[in-house]
Symmetry: C2
Subunit: 349 residues, 2 copies
């Protein structure tokens, strides 16, 4: 990508939960944009998005829509990325892809800027944005890994419905009202829209996010396992995940157990290392009941960490509670951070 | 306690979430009751409970209310148990206590009948019913421990608001409606009524159940850790817990990681052992998206287990998802099972 003072930026999936936040984040950082080109499926053509107070018309996401585009942020599902990302690259764009389509491809950097920003330099046209639940976990753990080493991670997630898109947000609202009213509850979206069986999410918990793999793990769980190792450059790190969808709208929370390489680390030392981490806010005050929650993290860009405890039996074991807005640091904000790093590296070169 | 054909049974806390279910469960098993004596605080005196289609008037829970009582089921909070359990015992009753008041006392058996029914024989007037989140976990793990040994447990819980009583159930309803309406949300009950700070539970997750201990764990987490070791008679078992309150009404779910003493156990073998366990139902069918949820377990007496997986790195590691109705197996049903075992042992003697 040629270094410029202003860039043409396409948003693929501009009407989606993440796409809308991408536009917000570009605005938030005053990204040097010449033309913003919101793209979506045919049925959204002509609708408007608002950017810096101006209405911008949505165009159809197809190959020639990428003519003249410098940076294309994709968040319209894996099939759209598989179909159009290479078309965008062929037309000279750098793609920052927020789907799972290319994340594990060898030639595609998978980036959380606070963790492995330098990997961006190796891109061959596509840079992948990790899975939402992965980003906040590796973001929280990287300073710990750098300071004390890390050899094991076991995570149980508490994930909001917005990770399944705006339809799932509406489904939770509708089902919640129906249950409060004692009327019939329709379940059509969660846990996975394309699967045969749907369960109510309102006042419930669903231990399925994405489809099942042959090894009995869900694809979401395998994403957390594989992506964590790739981002941290730690193929031998032991990672296990159980992913659960819950009835809240925004932010994911995670109960994370880790084993580090040292036996003698205290809680204040661990808190200190986390607090110093880039993009991390420590909220851990047991005297004043201070800890992050999905509601407190909503709309925030940071990764929040609380409930830091030493394991009572394992001298190198610690427990943490990690919360972040899944649409922001977990998706749109991380993508825009990658775009910022990309143009920064461009001007270095 | 003298063996009889019918018993006088007191319910302390008869108007509470658990007390009401205790009466339901006594009815459900046609417990041989001569007189049912529902007890509660002064302000509930004169209110009625329904038992076998008859109205029974609530009396005040005070020392002389236990005259003539054979079995007293307590579920009115730890302070009431501390004040009145010994009064009941002095008057000849056996107390089955559903609070944390006596659980860790050396002379008080802590019982999940499927796990350690024989401990009941050692009682000295008081038998303790474990914490709700502990019961379902040890119930699910005991058959595994017996077959393969067990040396490590790490649990992250997903707990319903009814564990904090009927006020918390109402709070979740009210807050949910207020959030859906976009009106002001009041938080006065959760996470802990007596603590200074309250957070909304509707569309949120609170990583605090009960008060904090000096070691940064909550009392709920320490209950799970200590009670599990006591019930299983396994003081050296490594147990770690993170307890989280969530916006659903009934049932607790748990993401449980275990390490057993064998390296070569397969998923079907593990499923088979769990399925054979008393009071356990295996619901684990990844082909048909089969797994338990809080809503599916509501009103059921069993412990439901799904999502059985081998850890991908640790050869003796397994992950499970355990769900049960916290007011039933987690409280009222387990207490009534203890009462049943007690009178059974009486007639043996």
């Amino acid at each position: 990508m040629e270094a410029k003072s202003r860039y043409n930026v396409a948003i693929v999936g501009a009407t989606g939960a993440v796409g809308q936040k991408m536009i917000d984040m570009l605005e938030h950082v005053a990204f040097p944009i010449d033309e913003l080109r919101p793209l979506a499926s045919k049925r959204s053509v002509g609708k408007m998005v608002t950017y810096n107070g101006r209405n911008v018309a949505i165009q159809e996401a197809k190959a020639d829509a990428f003519e003249g585009v410098d940076i294309a942020l994709f968040s319209a599902g894996g099939s759209v990325s598989k179909q159009l990302a290479h078309e965008a690259v062929e037309r000279g764009a750098v793609v920052i892809d927020n789907t799972s389509a290319f994340r594990m491809h060898e030639n595609v950097p998978l980036v959380v800027p606070e963790v492995n920003k330098e990997a961006i330099r190796d891109h061959q046209g596509i840079i992948a944005n990790p899975n939402c639940s992965t980003i906040q976990m590796v973001g929280a753990l990287e300073p710990v890994r750098q300071k004390y080493g890390l050899n094991r991670v076991i995570v149980s997630t508490y994930q909001s419905v917005s990770g399944s898109g705006l339809d799932a947000v509406e489904e939770l609202k509708d089902q919640s009202q129906a249950m409060l009213d004692g009327t019939a509850v329709n379940a059509e979206i969660l846990p996975v829209k394309s699967e045969p069986k749907h369960y109510p999410i309102a006042f419930n918990a669903l231990p399925q996010i994405d489809t099942f793999e042959d090894n009995h793990y869900t694809f979401e769980e395998m994403k957390m396992i594989n992506e964590t190792k790739k981002i941290m450059g730690a193929p031998d790190l032991s990672v296990a995940a159980t992913c659960v969808r819950l009835p809240f709208f925004y932010s994911h929370a995670e109960s994370v157990y880790i084993e580090i390489d040292q036996d003698d680390v205290t809680v204040p030392q661990m808190q200190g290392v986390i607090q110093e981490g880039e993009g991390i806010v420590l909220q851990d005050d047991i005297v004043n009941q201070g800890y992050p929650t999905p509601l407190s993290a909503e709309g925030q860009l940071d990764i929040f960490v609380g409930r830091v405890r030493r394991d009572l039996d394992v001298p190198n074991g610690f427990h943490l509670w990690v919360v972040s807005d899944n649409l922001l640091k977990g998706a749109a904000w991380n993508s825009v951070q990658i775009a910022q790093a990309l143009i920064e590296m461009n001007s270095d070169a």
